[in-house]
Amino acid sequence: MAAAVLMPKAGISVESCIITQWLKQPGDTIAKGDVLFSYETDKASFECESTEDGQLLEIFYGDGDEVPVLVNVCAVGAPGDDVSGLRPGGQESAPTAQSAPVQEAPAAAVQQPPAAEIPPASGDIKISPRAKNLAAKQGIDVRFAAPTGPYGRVIEQDIRTMMEQGAGSATGAAFSDAAAAQAGSFAGTGIGGRVGVNDLTAPLEVRTATAVEVDVGLAYEDVKFTGIRKVISKSMTASLTAIPQLTHNFSFNATEIMAYRAKLKKNGEAQGLPNITLNDMVLYAVSRILMSYPALNAHMLDPTTIRYFRNVNLGMAVDTERGLMVPVIKNANRKTLTQISIEAKSLAKQAQTGTLSPDDMSGGTFTVSNLGALGVESFTPVINPPETGILGVDTIIQRPVEVDGEIRLYPAMGISLTYDHRAIDGAPASRFARELCRALENFTLLLAQ
């Protein structure tokens, strides 16, 4: 009897994916684990492995088709098997090359900004009542727990591990693996085919852009963008062609945040605090000040509609081998400096290792991009649409200042705010930047608020 292969659910909030390219054709003999096709969300690309042995009998969606998750993509079985029962939505026959009939799937949901209120529900996470209670008590986000219970269940010890490591730290990677495993792209090696801890900790395949036909001998190489590069390409073009954006540069006296950082470095670890960086402090300050400037914590839905968010989902630009990635700290305005620091590190690490889930990269309402480490003194960050603002963080340089007739040097840190002029005018945008500077100059006062 023929069996169907489903479009995997690549993340909790992912509702449909686009088939990038079929790597097998009808008639091919395939085995479980063979890569059938590559697919992508707007944030990442993946490969779909066959969950069945047999002959690829029919493909229900072609390259470029958008397919709702967990819908039959193709049928595998013995030659001659009836596949009519497997065609999604009662299709008469495969519409392969045509645009996919995404009927009930809310395709727009992928592109549209997700609801800003609360991070995606953790309903898909299997977790024991005891672990759930403990996590709630400790204020731990269970989505970051690495499940070690039977059948991928998060159990008490997983939460305790997180508590020991500082909540929400390095375990996120395993979580996204687990999510992927639940989506069917992992073959369990445990008893009864179950996905075990070993499966979750096995290294992930590197999922980079796939090179197409390269003409050896030529002096150049044409590479078709896929996945992240393609997304960046589209997004940046859209931003700079469609958005009337401009940048204001400021600088502030970083003495206090540097002193605070030094203090934390010296004493923080003993008190169980994470290594809190200057950037973490900027993120923290932005998350607080932004609450008074709703036009910068917003999405332009169309040229005449703006959506203001009640909480700050703070995107942080991370440079990775695969390109720029922007994971999001959800509800940053509700999180403590420590929580933001832990989460920022975890997200950055996942971005580096390619283990971010699409959910981790969606829902941003404002972005911070820090190029200070590279010595950039001032730059023009490009807005990540549909957001209305982005803050560039620059390097620190010593600047002279006259104090009581004397010239003294102080460390000045630059910030560069790019804003969408449709959403906000120059003066209020500058007020935001100035207030941010004041807040960072008096960081301990901000902390006390």
């Binding site: 009542p129 005891r130 010890q157 801890v197």
Partner: protein
């Protein structure tokens, strides 16, 4: 198998014949006229009056049941009505000579028997005694209702109203009935008149009456016991078992002086020709004449006779001859009392199995007609006198029925004002050190018993100076049962024990070994292999007021005593509204090495039936404590033991098993070992597998397991269990019972509901496979092993690194497959 009796092959193999003596059939030929002198006119008329009461009573129930009205009273009665119109002469004849010290047990068609016995007692008892009985019964509640509605001319008249009212109210399920209406039509009785329960199970009274007769005999009590049954009950095994048990040779040949002699029991078969619709003679039986079977039971032929149950004088005559026989130790007796019922088996029986001619023929000889004619013919009464009797009877029955139907004066028990009204009656929960009133009869002081001496030299803990004590020197589980039992023998003169091979052998597992040296036959005897009669008679013994331990050897044999355990032992305390106590300990042993019919842990069966206390000690400390509690209590206890455990010594309780008596509370649990990572709950011998599993968990996986043994299942206190689960968040429940329907599932469900938020994984039940028990060589394939406990943890609770499961019982897919396959 007493050594004193020699089975001589020469004697056994000798040729000869079995000779029977003639069994009288309807031998009584006298008329009323012949008996006037013997009885006196008044008594002869009263016999008619009593029959009239019985007839009118059943007529009333029939009309209420079928038409919803009687003499202008509209009333609905939804319950059973197995009526006895036509059987009045048999009942009144039976009761005529019986006093309150004589016990009657009813069939399921017993309204007549109950009333006849009551009317007979009322006639015999002095007014003062009657008043005391009525005033004291249920605190005078029943009497008050009767007195409020009726000013009686005499105490006897009041008592008649009282007894009829109490019976109707009981049938109508009223609080003022004889036992709050909780027994009803088929479970009515009135102990102050020696009227013991009737029984909704056909033949159910045969074993219980047998037990009451044992009580009379073993406690030197006056009076005889009547087991009422129908002819249809002769298709029932427990009835035959009881006939045989009652006629055992040992009563005459082996029992000690003072207790020697036959049992004072009379099996009264109301032979109405039908067992429901099945005609006994000619269709469903082969005895031709029921009285014949007496000849098959004993050399005395059970003094069997066929008696004309359509002539009250014939029945009275039979009882006047049989009662002295029973009183002088010549029992048992069997009477085949020919009678006929005009109504169907129940009111829904359309009597499709008989012709109207048959009914008419019997109605033509109806004693209410023929005996009346004789009374008139003999000049004992005039027609007018008889009519007056009828008027009075109708007036009385109408009055009390109206009273019983009136909810204002005869309310139902109120679940609203007391939702626990039945719950509170399920167990008596009393402590009675002794039910006996005499000095316990023993053969020698306890200290002279060789077993007692042997135990005195034993070590009471499994380890001494850190080294294991040798098996033979250690006080073991079997000793731990023996100790409280022998102690109770010297405390409670009413205590008796019996079962298969309990005396010289000491029980198949030697728990009683040595007891026969000091305990006389009448208190410790071998019974026939009759599990139904063993348990059923214990029920009767307990009802009658004695304490008893019976033993079924293997727990698997409970099936043979199913009705007696589940319908009799479990039910009578609550059905009697707490009037009856049931100090019965039923010992059963879970087998090992004996295959599919001798190796089953069936705790779930009695634990499922409300009304039974159930325990299963796993250590000597638990065994002694629980047996002591059971023997001091007043409730029925199904006491599980295990053949895997008899030889073990106490390994857990600090200081070993105390020499002095101590009680272990039923429902409490034993925390065998404390731990923080996982809770293992056990029942029975599986405790020792759990200990091994806990050792492995600690050594290989660094997990500390808390082991809790559930030594008693009903009742069961959850506090310690929940506290442990709240601590560990994980729980495995293990026992040797087949996993499907295991009592552990019930506990697992309660834990899930009561500690859900604390659970880190679902509670997992580890039980035996849902198979037959294969031969002992495959024990490890069938019964839970320590590795299974690890498997369950690994698969469902907490993956154990490097653990490879030994069985696949705990894989969801396998669980589903097995359920689908029915295994």
């Amino acid at each position: 198998m007493p050594k004193s009796q020699f089975i001589d092959p020469a004697e056994v193999r000798k040729a000869g014949k079995i000779k029977f003596t003639d069994i009288p059939v309807n031998a009584y030929k006298k008329t009323v006229k012949d008996e006037v002198k013997t009885f006196g006119k008044e008594n002869l008329v009263r016999i008619y009056r009593d029959m009239a009461y019985l007839r009118e009573f059943e007529t009333m129930v029939n009309l209420i049941k079928t038409q919803g009205s009687y003499n202008g009273l509209e009333h609905t009665y939804p319950g059973p009505a197995h009526l006895s119109q036509g059987q009045e002469a048999a009942a009144v004849g039976q009761a005529y000579h019986l006093g309150r010290e004589d016990f009657t047990f009813g069939s399921h068609r017993s309204h007549g028997e109950i009333l006849a016995k009551a009317l007979s007692c009322i006639e015999k008892l002095p007014d003062e005694e009657l008043m005391t009985i009525m005033k004291e019964f249920l605190g005078g509640k029943t009497l008050k209702v009767v007195e409020s509605a009726f000013k009686a001319d005499s105490v006897k008249e009041l008592a008649i109203n009282f007894i009829i009212y109490g019976t109707v109210a009981e049938i109508f399920a009223r609080e003022t009935g004889f036992h709050l209406g909780l027994g009803g039509s088929m479970h009515a009785f009135f102990l102050p008149f020696g009227i013991y329960p009737n029984n909704a199970i056909v033949g159910g009274s045969a074993p219980t009456a047998l037990g009451a007769a044992l009580y009379k005999k073993c406690n030197g009590k006056d009076g005889i016991v009547i087991a009422n049954a129908g002819d249809g009950s002769l298709g029932c095994g427990p009835v035959w078992e009881s006939l045989n048990f009652s006629a055992m040779d040992q009563f005459r040949q082996l029992w000690e002086e003072g207790r020697r002699g036959g049992l004072p029991i009379l099996f009264h078969f109301n032979n109405n020709g039908y067992g429901m619709g099945g005609q006994t003679r000619g269709e469903t039986m082969g005895y031709d004449l029921l009285a014949r079977i007496g000849a098959g039971i004993s050399p005395t032929q059970m003094h069997a006779e066929r008696v004309d149950g359509y002539n009250p004088l014939a029945v009275i005559d039979a009882y006047s001859r049989k009662k002295p026989l029973l009183e002088s130790g010549e029992g048992p007796v069997l009477l085949d009392v020919v009678t006929y019922r005009y109504s169907g088996h129940s009111t829904s029986d359309a009597s499709a199995y008989r012709e109207k001619e048959e009914m008419d023929a019997w109605m033509a000889v109806d004693p209410l007609v023929t005996y009346r004619q004789e009374l008139v013919k003999a000049g004992v009464a005039k027609d007018g006198d008889i009519e007056k009797i009828w008027d009075h009877v109708r007036e009385t029955i109408t009055r009390v029925t109206k009273l019983a139907a009136d909810e204002k004066v005869s309310p139902y028990i109120s679940f609203q004002s007391n939702p626990r009204i039945v719950e509170d009656l399920m167990f008596s929960n009393e402590k009675v050190a002794s039910f006996g009133t005499e000095k316990p009869s023993v053969l020698a002081p306890k200290e002279e018993c060789s077993r007692v001496k042997q135990i005195a030299g034993k070590e009471r803990f499994a380890y001494k100076d850190g080294k294991p004590v040798s098996k033979i020197k250690a006080f073991n589980y079997r000793d731990a049962l023996f100790e409280p039992i022998i102690d109770k023998y010297y405390e409670d003169s009413s205590l008796i024990s019996y079962g298969e091979d309990v005396r010289e052998w000491g029980g198949a597992f030697a728990v009683y070994r040595g007891l026969s040296e000091v305990i006389p036959y009448s208190r410790l005897f071998n019974s026939p292999i009759s599990e139904a009669a063993i348990v059923g008679s214990a029920v009767g013994y307990g009802m009658a007021g004695g304490r008893v331990i019976v033993e079924l050897m293997y727990a698997d044999f409970m099936g043979r005593a199913g009705d007696e355990i589940f319908n009799q032992l479990a039910k009578w305390q609550a059905m009697s509204a707490g009037i009856l106590k049931m100090p019965v300990v039923l010992r059963v042993s879970v087998g090992s090495k004996y295959g599919a019919q001798h190796s089953q842990d069936w705790v779930a069966l009695p634990a499922h039936i409300p009304g039974l206390k159930v325990c299963f000690p796993a250590t000597p400390y638990e065994a002694k404590g629980l047996m002591t509690t059971a023997l001091n209590g007043t409730d029925p206890v199904v006491f599980f033991e295990s053949q895997r455990l008899y030889d073990i010594a106490e390994e857990f309780h600090e200081g070993g098993v105390p020499k002095d008596a101590y009680e272990l509370e039923f429902g409490d649990v034993s925390v065998i070992r404390e731990g923080g990572d996982i809770t293992i709950l056990t029942i029975g011998a599986t405790l020792y597998k759990a200990v091994k599993a806990a050792d492995i968990l600690k050594e290989k996986y660094g997990l500390s397991a808390e082991i809790i043994n559930l030594h008693s299942l009903v009742p069961l206190k959850y506090e310690k269990i929940l506290a442990s689960v709240k601590k560990t968040g994980r729980v495995v429940l293990a026992s040797d019972a087949c996993a499907r329907g295991s009592f552990l599932n019930d506990i697992a469900r309660n834990i899930t509901e009561l500690a859900f938020d604390d659970l880190d994984a679902p509670p997992v039940v580890v039980g035996a496979q849902n198979w037959i028990t294969p031969p002992f060589e495959f024990d490890a394939e069938f019964f839970p092993q320590e590795s299974w406990i690890l498997d369950a943890i690994h698969e469902k609770i907490l993956p154990l690194k490097g653990h490879v499961s030994t069985v696949n019982n705990y894989l969801p897919v396998e669980q589903i497959r097995r359920a689908e396959a029915g295994v």
